[in-house]
Amino acid sequence: MVSQVSAEQEAQMFDQLKSGTGVLEGHWGIKWRLESSPRVLKENAMEWPDRAALRKKRYGIWNTYTWKEYFEQVKYFCLGLVSLGFKRNDKIAIIGDNDPEWWFCQLGAQSAGGVSFGIFIDCIPSEIKYFVESSDATFAAAKDQEQCDKFLEIKEEIPNIKKVIYWEPKGMWRYEDPWLIDFKEVVRLGREYEKAHPELFDAMVNQVRVDDPCCLAYTSGTTGLPKAAVITYRSLLAWNLTLWKYYPAEVGEDYFSFLCPAWAVDQILGFVGCLQQKMVVNFPENPETVVTDAREISSVMELAGARMWEERYRDLLTRIDDADFLKKFTYRVSMAIGRRYRGLKDKGRVGLWWKSLQALAELCALHQLRDRLGYVRSRVCLVAGAMMSPELFSFFQTIGIPLYTYYGITEAGFVAMQFPGATKQGSTGKILPGRTVKISEEGEVWVKADDAMMFSGYYKNDEATEKALQDGWYHTGDAGYIDPEGYFFFMDRISEMMSLADGTKFSATYIESELRCSRYIADVMIVGHEREYVGALVQIDLKNVGQWAENHRIAYNTFVDLSQKEGVYDLIRQEIEKTNTRIPERSRVRFFVNLHKEFDADEAEMTRTRKLKRAPLEAKYQEIIEGIYGGKEVIPVHTEVKYRDGRTGFVDAKVRVMRIESRGQGGSRGDVIASES
């Protein structure tokens, strides 16, 4: 349903976007104001005071905030902040689940000319300290008791923070520290402040320009400390516009916000996109109820990480395994029909027979599956983050979920994207208008984009900015290539491209993403750089392997115990053998161990977005890795573990190494990667 826009109109639109102001109108059914978010909110509230803007499930009911209520919360929170000493260009750190208050805090600070940024909710106090210090934040918003306790722990070390604002008062009844303040109290202060300064709010909002910085987006930091990219309102608008070009949504449609808002994608869609297009942002009751809440809302568009889809896939397969015979049978037949139908449709040769069969499959299983996952109204689901296995893509597309992939970076937004008509498998789509991509001699992806679409440098880190941005080319640190048809293929981070001792190159991330397709493997780290062969450190999926063990009468007590069971080793071996058939022969996994513990972000083993941090991991599991290549069969390990509350303990275990015999033929996508690199 992409409405037709001529190339000329489009060019004019992007021209206006680059430096203009005013209203972008008429194309793809949009009417956007090239202005900062606080001003857009104000105008929305005047235009549509009584229509729904936000919805939050509380006490089992969806509660609606109208645009007017939304605006008032933002306005009084902003004035309250100002009365507490918040000034233009000040920063506010926000840590909490997806709640309307998160949005109020951000827009409130932005209305005063401030800049906001989010922190992942599971960050430990020392990480919070880093974010607060590196951003010069002067205020913090922390959802609840749990988050406030983290701030209280480091109170002495972050003297710049004037107040910590909480919005969930549960459990805070006996906290008397005046450093903490209730969100409602800030709003009340704002109402008082308005009486003395009636003109102030409008004056402040008028000063916020579209080219002002609006948020800091922290990079995920796989190789070092996260850096804060400064993003302007205009960049967020520009990124949205490229998205809307291919996937327009109508005014008033639903968006479901469940990804951590600290991640840049929710800034793009959840804030600016929904604000401009006057869409309704829906918030889940709490993080545990996301699945049922998503089903009730059924968002029209979604941006999510590959990890989430991998988890859903594993969960779904396990549920189907538990279903009765009839359901299993219906599912299998429907999926087979769906796959065949999709294959024929791609070739453009669908006859009436297959159309009717597909309709039957839809009726019996596919629609139900889509409904269960909450995608009946979905028009586009974009997959971000790490690469995702083609198997998973085909699975979800067969169910009928419009899954597309894109290549994007915090510093330049979307770079390449799949869209209807440009969905070559394995690629991340075509390069988007306004961006240029060059592959350097070393194979690194360089991106150049209009200023409007680029970040404005790293906050207070000119050295890093200069290093990353040379002659207008942003050096991504990623490896990739563009094929003759203009499709962009992302391979891996350059730092993660590995080669065996004989020079065979392989992508660890690729093998890992293939292995994670197995529902018994929750996570895995591939090793083998400058070694003889590839090895894998597997973290079993406790839930699914646990259930498998129960069904096979294998008794276990802890994760360590389960992971080292003979039967579990055989199970994982079979899973790896299956995956090996899709991997080029030389880089197949030859040895693996089942790790005795899970990878943990608290121990700096992965980033908060669940990307592996290889260097620390390799150091930590050195004895295991050496053991694998030293030909050992059993390796004793002694690992330090850090608990949430800061205590440390030790886990002693013996892990076994298992060898995998090679068999089968090479796969498709892996060959491409191997040959291109």
Binding site: R58, Y59, G60, I61, K170, G171, W173, R174, E285, N286, E288, T289, T292
Partner: protein, 259 residues
């Protein structure tokens, strides 16, 4: 220390045939405190609770709740007065959902007749909405939104215990008796439960009587401890005093190292 006595137990005796379960137990529960009752297995801890909510009739002695004697009242009347209890073994309707279980607990507060409930209008509807509101606050408080509509029989033991606590809260008690609320839980579930108990005492301000084996938990959250041994009160005091009490450690575990 002079505070409001909510529950007063005066010299109660209880025998089953020749077995003397309780031999003159006396203690008070004060407003707003968390009182832990500890003691070895078979010391008579659960018997005390059963006497308080009327399942057992003590042979001698009296029990007062907010100044009224309740020694020989029937259990449902004692319950209606505001003594809530969480059982050691989960006593929920396993075939109903969490929501239905909690709504069922509100039944003693519903007054509409069969007819208006069947026709579902006016008073009955209002009553349902009001009670549902209370139940939803409890669901939110105990963070069990995810299992709101799941059948209790399908839940893990730890979660059932939490629902059981919710059921007791749904009665809007004035005092809460918890009989080993953490037995059989893992560390994480215990920590959650401990937090909920603290939150309840903090927010609602009513006293909580906690029978518990886990000494770590008791020492962490109790304001005061009563030690029972062989049907008698062995000691009573602040956690530090009890921890330092040699007699208690010997009676409890027969060893010097208790905690």
């Amino acid at each position: 220390m002079k505070q409001d006595e909510v529950l007063k137990i005066e010299d109660i005796h209880l025998s089953f045939g020749g077995v003397h379960a309780l031999n003159g137990v006396s203690f008070c529960v004060w407003q707003g405190e968390i009182l832990a009752v500890i003691g070895p297995n078979g010391a008579g801890k659960t018997c005390i609770v059963n006497c308080v909510n009327g399942f057992y009739r003590p042979g001698k002695g009296r029990i007062y709740f907010q100044g009224t004697e309740i020694t020989r009242k029937q259990p449902h009347k004692i319950c209606a007065m505001g003594i809530g209890r969480v059982f050691q073994n989960v006593e929920l309707y396993t075939g109903l959902t969490v929501l239905e279980n909690l709504m069922a607990a509100r039944h003693s507060r519903m007054k509409q007749g069969i007819l208006s409930n069947a026709l579902w209008f006016g008073g009955a509807l209002r009553e349902e909405v009001e009670n549902r509101k209370v139940v939803e606050y409890i669901i939110d408080f105990l963070e069990i939104q995810k299992i709101r509509k799941e059948t209790v029989g399908m839940l893990s033991y730890g979660l059932r215990k939490r629902v059981e606590l919710g059921r007791a809260l749904a009665l809007e008690p004035k005092i809460l008796l918890l009989d080993e609320p953490m037995a059989g839980m893992n560390l994480e579930e215990k920590e959650d439960m401990a937090r909920f108990i603290l939150d309840i005492a903090e927010r609602e301000g009513f006293p909580v009587v906690l029978i518990e084996h886990d000494m770590g938990v008791v020492m962490d959250i109790a304001d005061r401890i009563v030690v029972i041994d062989a049907g008698k009160v062995l000691a009573e005091g602040m956690p530090e005093e009890i921890a330092a009490n040699k007699m208690v450690s010997e009676a409890y575990m027969g060893s010097e190292e208790l905690w």
